[in-house]
Symmetry: C2
Subunit: 224 residues, 2 copies
């Protein structure tokens, strides 16, 4: 049972004997993020990241327990992009600012949105983001569980919104889904869908739509 590198970066003095590690969890996560940005999340595998790092595949397991953990590290790495200081205003204003940052991050890293919807990573940066969100809710009447749910729903809404922005009608984007959609429309069984699609995309600036969406949700959650 080894300790790996602890989940949090805290300076744990070298423990004892043996060669120093040639890599670090942070560098690995960074490389994995770059790889995903460049070639898509599908390129992120143990062997792929190992090649990116310039090491053998099995070596990665000295730093990471599983691929799942690798992905968690990637999410946390990306979450380090939040600027948590200098937010002011009301609770909903602060949360809107956080959500906007999240949306920007997901725009820079298109693979994040689906992952963030599917799993909850608990790295230090993610936790810091969560803590900051809770701070924004500090002086509200919400219970603890309600606060947590509010933030969870907020990031979920953000992810879903970004995912809507990214791939419009079809699922993947290779045209297969689109072809099926076209065919389905040809059957005439979905007239309203055809009509809705006939009008072009909304084209109005999504920033405004997003802000309205978030603000509305927060108001519904009981915030000013």
């Amino acid at each position: 049972m080894k300790q790996k590198q602890p989940a949090t970066v805290g300076a744990c003095a070298r423990r004892s004997t043996g060669p120093k590690p040639q890599h670090s969890r942070e560098k690995i996560a960074q490389a994995a993020v770059e790889l995903a940005d460049r070639e898509g999340i599908g390129a992120v595998s143990i062997r792929g990241v190992a090649a990116e790092i310039g090491s053998g595949a099995a070596s990665l397991y000295r730093y990471v327990d599983s691929v799942e953990e690798l992905v968690d590290l990637m999410i946390d790495q990306v979450s380090s992009g939040y600027e948590l200081n200098g937010l002011d205003g009301s609770a909903s204003e602060q949360l809107l600012a956080l959500a906007r940052q999240g949306r920007n991050i997901m725009h820079r890293h298109p693979w994040v949105a689906p992952l963030l919807l599917a799993k909850r990573a608990l790295g230090p940066h993610t936790l810091a983001y969560l803590e900051r969100g809770l701070a924004a809710l500090q002086f509200t009447a919400l219970t603890g569980a309600a606060k947590l749910q509010t933030i969870a729903m907020l990031t979920a809404i953000t992810s879903a919104f970004v995912q809507n922005e990214q791939g419009e009608p079809a699922g993947d984007g290779d045209g297969k889904g689109a072809a099926a959609l076209i065919w389905a429309l040809g059957t005439g069984k979905y007239p309203l869908l055809a009509e809705s699609l006939a009008q072009g995309p909304a084209s109005v600036d999504q920033d405004q739509v997003f802000a309205t969406l978030v603000t509305t949700y927060l108001r519904g959650a009981g915030l000013d």
Copy 2:
């Protein structure tokens, strides 16, 4: 280039020669859903479903192009559980009823929520659901794109909400994430998180919370 069985079930008279297929896309999707319900989505693989069907693994490719398509079929199969007739009331009342049905479906099939967030399947049942949602929005002032986005966000919100219900704090549920969380709390760097978790779970009936959430969102989207 074969035709497989067409995406929609329409009675396409047997095309020409050869033995009749021993299975059908519907039965396969059904079996896959049962398998996922029983042993989790992780058990759904080509070989797994083939075994469930009682056929060789390669045979499945006579009915399905890829695993992705299999999953799409599963989602559509599950979407056949919607009762789309007999909805009445205002636009938001109808959509709330649809969302409630969606939530129930996701409760019966816990693996659906994550999938529905990650991808958009376009099977006949899913399209029918979408068409029904558009019908609810028929006499509103929304543009076509806005209608589509409203429904997409509605199902996303539903999925996210159910996912919140299902796995509380940690990501997976094997205790690994929970352990990491416990440890992180011990550092004292996340006092607000600790405080929020200290109070027990909300325990109030989630039905009410869900209804409020959906209604609020719809009101924000410009509906009555």
